[in-house]
Amino acid sequence: MKLSRDLTCAEVVELVTEYLEGGLSAPERERFEEHLGVCDWCVTYLEQMRQTIGSTGQLREEDLDPQLQDALIEVFRGWKTE
């Protein structure tokens, strides 16, 4: 049984983050996925969002500039003598 009308693409693009973050209720999720089942463009959009998130994650830097690291050790040593 249909509880409400189908989602539009304009609505789907606003629900993408809730969908990806697990914020949709089960019926909302079902409606969302129903739309994806019939709309390749929104599947493409969702994939673009996934790629956006993945690429953003690549900005992460693992290493701290050694000079700042040294400066922080100096902060620590200074604090110990306080």
Binding site: C9, V16, M49, Q51, T56, P66, L68, L72, V75
Partner: protein, 227 residues
């Protein structure tokens, strides 16, 4: 003396500080354990610097903020009660330090003010890209193109530069939330605890930020395709 934090070979295993209980960590810092301190700095330093960068005008000032925040952490060790995680506590101190520094630089308004402004309508996609009327109202008129997966250009320095620049131009609250969630890997609850915002606000801010970054990447792809 060498503390061994510049470990670069992938085979070497470095014990992560988060494996230690928070209260053991704090106890070790109180006794002046420099090894634990340098590990903490290595683990959290890059993220702290990037988050701080959203509040202040230059990399140099962001570095000063990180130093000031660590001093605040050390001086406040006795006040750590373990009600939040060490990481949450650390970032709250960083936020407060960065905000007061930002205010001194006269460019920051308090986070709560910005986070409260999520009510404004800001569509993820320009509404003109959807059909306005008729049977297909609300459906794509100008649909998105299929990006190759993985799209090589998004993996290159230029693609990263587009993202970095876009985040720098976002409203501050959006920039901070996307930095914490999608760059530094904070969970949604951690973000809410550090920033004192609701889960709903966190999602709205993240959604707007991601939507803008996606749009910037789409524009970039269109431009490079035309080249």
């Amino acid at each position: 003396m060498h503390y061994g934090w510049r470990v670069s070979s992938p085979e070497s295993t470095v014990q992560t500080v988060s494996a230690l209980e928070d209260r053991e960590l704090v106890a070790a810092l109180r006794t002046g354990d420099e090894t634990v301190f340098s590990r903490l700095v290595r683990e959290h330093g890059p993220g702290m610097l990037r988050v701080a960068r959203n509040y202040v005008s230059s990399q140099a000032v962001a570095e000063e903020v990180v130093q000031e925040a660590w001093l605040g952490v050390l001086r406040g060790l006795d006040r750590f009660e373990g009600r939040s995680s060490f990481k949450t506590w650390l970032y709250r101190i960083l936020m407060n330090t960065a905000m007061s520094r930002g205010e001194r630089e006269a460019r920051t308004v308090p986070f709560a003010t910005l986070a409260g402004e999520v009510g404004d309508d800001e569509p993820a996609i320009d509404p003109s890209r959807f059909t306005a009327e008729g049977r297909w109202a609300g459906h794509w008129a100008v649909p998105p193109d299929n990006w190759a997966s993985p799209e090589p250009r998004l993996l290159e320095a230029e693609g990263r530069e587009v993202i970095d620049r876009t985040i720098a131009q976002l409203p501050e609250a959006q920039a901070i939330v996307i930095t914490m969630c999608d760059i530094e890997g904070f969970g949604p609850e951690e973000v809410c605890n550090v920033l004192d915002i609701s889960l709903t606000n966190q999602r709205v801010l993240l959604h707007r930020a991601r939507s803008r970054v996606r749009q910037a990447l789409e524009d970039y792809m269109g431009e490079t395709r035309a080249r």
